[in-house]
Subunit: 390 residues, 2 copies
């Protein structure tokens, strides 16, 4: 695995692309201008062009249900007809001179690929930020969600918000933009009303209920198909990422933004943790032999700001207090992975001086700084390699 040379800050700041700028971008794509994202700082390549060898999409995994009987092409009864569903949907983009390991980006609860695309206020999301750094990207919709909405079982969708924390004002709090209708003073989210409008619209419902196995089997199949790659997860995608990593050895690392549920070996699941009215927080048991696979890859968990972490006084707001137990349970997961010889780590962003992040740091106002942390982690774990063999 070759590496680029020393970090070169591409400080070109012209907002309109010049031809010389385009030529620089072309040389960059050719690998003739070394650029690295591991310095822990900003990724300053946002006005470089995105140069793709190819891009595409496919539906990995899934099930087929076949009705009994024989198909009649004139009567067109259900007899003998099939339904294909329960697959995932993946869209990939491969830069010229791509780095060795693709980044697979998995959304959280209620969302879809959009989590990683244009931010609500219209800036580059992680998709573009890492493409401009020559990482191949795979953005997925999990089975029974978004463009992978074709299920083999019936579903019902309730559009009415709540009761509970599922209404949009509740989500505003739980995703830690602020206490509706007020933003947190330091929040890394635009106060432009259109940004909030776009953010609320980046949700789409499940077309049917989904088990962890139904969600992870197609993604594991995808990893087996595409080869070694790094998995990024968000929120409810967290536990699905851990399980996927136990199902495919091509998951070479997992970087999880605020995973809300963790896995533990059967018989070693910690007791439920009180976490306010929306708790308690529980762990998900998996076989020890599966859990041990998580000790073979680097794991990082990232937490944002504006919620009480372990040991701090509880919040009176259920949508904030729910995070305390989740944070505590995630630390227990990290500790157990490491006790078994693993390489897991957890970062509370305020502890390293990065303030105001929401539940979705990958699209926050400081998301290039957040991307820089990921770039450093990829470098430190030798996952930022480059493929020079084409």
């Amino acid at each position: 695995m070759k590496r680029t040379g020393p970090f070169v800050r591409v400080a070109f700041r012209a907002r309109r692309l010049s031809k010389s700028r385009l030529l620089l971008g072309s040389l960059f794509a050719l690998g003739l201008v070394p650029v690295a994202g591991f310095a822990g700082g900003l990724f300053d390549s946002d006005d470089l062009p995105i140069v793709l060898k190819t891009q595409g999409s496919f539906m990995p995994g899934g099930a087929v249900v076949t009705n009994p009987g024989t198909f009649d092409p004139i009567a067109l009864t259900p007899d003998g007809q099939t339904i294909h569903g329960d697959h995932a949907y993946a869209q990939y983009q491969v830069p010229l001179n791509a780095r060795r390991y693709p980044l697979v980006m998995w959304h959280g609860g209620g969302q879809f690929t959009k989590t990683w695309e244009t931010t609500p206020d219209g800036r580059d999301g992680f998709q573009n930020i890492f493409l401009r750094q020559r990482y191949t990207t795979y953005l997925i919709d999990q089975p029974r969600r978004g463009n992978a909405g074709r299920a083999t079982t019936n579903g019902t969708i309730a559009a009415v918000p709540g009761p509970g924390p599922t209404g949009e004002q509740g989500i505003f709090i739980r995703f830690r933009l602020g206490l509706w209708p007020n933003y947190f003073p330091n929040v890394q989210f635009s106060h432009d009303p259109e940004a909030l409008n776009q953010w609320w619209r980046q949700q789409t419902p499940d077309t049917a209920t989904t088990t962890n196995d139904q969600a992870t089997d197609p993604v594991a199949a995808m990893f087996n198909q595409i080869g070694p790659a790094v998995l990024l997860t968000h929120s409810a995608g967290g536990v699905l990422g851990w399980i996927t990593a136990t199902k495919s050895s091509n998951v070479r690392g997992v970087y999880a933004y605020e995973p809300v549920t963790q896995v533990f070996p059967e018989g070693q699941v910690p007791p439920p943790i009180d976490s306010g009215p929306l708790g308690p927080i529980t762990g998900t048991p998996i076989p020890l032999s599966s859990f041990l696979k998580l000790t073979k890859i680097p794991i990082e968990i990232i937490w944002g700001d504006n919620f009480p972490i372990t040991g701090q006084p509880p919040s009176k707001y259920p949508d904030l207090e729910v995070w305390q137990g989740r944070y505590t349970m995630a630390q227990k997961f990290v500790d157990l992975v490491n006790k078994y010889g693993g390489h897991a780590h957890m970062t509370h962003l305020p502890d390293i001086g990065i303030k105001g992040n929401t539940h979705f740091a990958m699209s926050d106002l400081n998301n290039k700084q957040i991307a820089g942390l990921l770039g450093k982690w990829l470098h430190d774990n030798r996952l930022d390699g480059e493929q020079r063999g084409w």
Copy 2:
């Protein structure tokens, strides 16, 4: 509107990209190598890189429903909470040195953006084909479909196929791959079982029922936002395209693949047309003042092979016979647009020697030839312009 010079066939055929090839691609992106797609032949740019100035996504249009009452951040009842939904989802890609008019690609019934992405057998779809020709592309999911699945009303989804033509074997016939399980001898569809598997999986259900206005208002809002562009439609998207073109003057042309329903001025809707057990075929009335807007833009309708057109003996297979009435009604639409001074035209591909196309020519095995026809139409209607002003 400037034009490129004479057509230059880029005949480079190396399957693995060389550095000189990449440099050629870079020069192409800079506009230094003239390439045009209007010769009516193949688009031979499939191994050129895709060079993007930027790409992104957003959700145009939509509704907001607000519950009565006052939001309580501790009780978290539905009181005062909102739901944002009924928007469309759009993903755009802007090549360097992009041509003037973007192509907006709208799927048909039961499908989503995938219609225009990688073909079922893994080749470039129209998205890549036209990006490589420096057209900006917008791929959309219509409201209550795919990544635009967030609706403001409840929905139910039935996964069981049929009765009727909605089962997958029925769709196999109706989309004219063949008479299940046999392919038509000349069909432009791969016989690889994995291609059929992927094709069946490129469906996703509506999350709630949708009216024509609910589907078209957000797309018209998008056109008003993005400026002049050309609209491509498929199948059930056809009538939505006609209506959208009456709602935004930024729709500068409509190119429709097998539109299944047509619009007519109120009071001038033709009588229903018998078309076998799945008929009769009816027209959709709109105000005359709206219809007349369709006379101001170029319109093209494309039909494939393997169904009886007007005047031919009927098929005994309902899923084939249904096309005869649709074809006849579309001709009546074209004739009336032209009677009012418009510029509409209909092409039956077999009549110009192009055989075996299915209901979805944009991803058929000969889709580069099909793209070439569109390229010629864009050229002939001065819609292939280039933007040199950046």
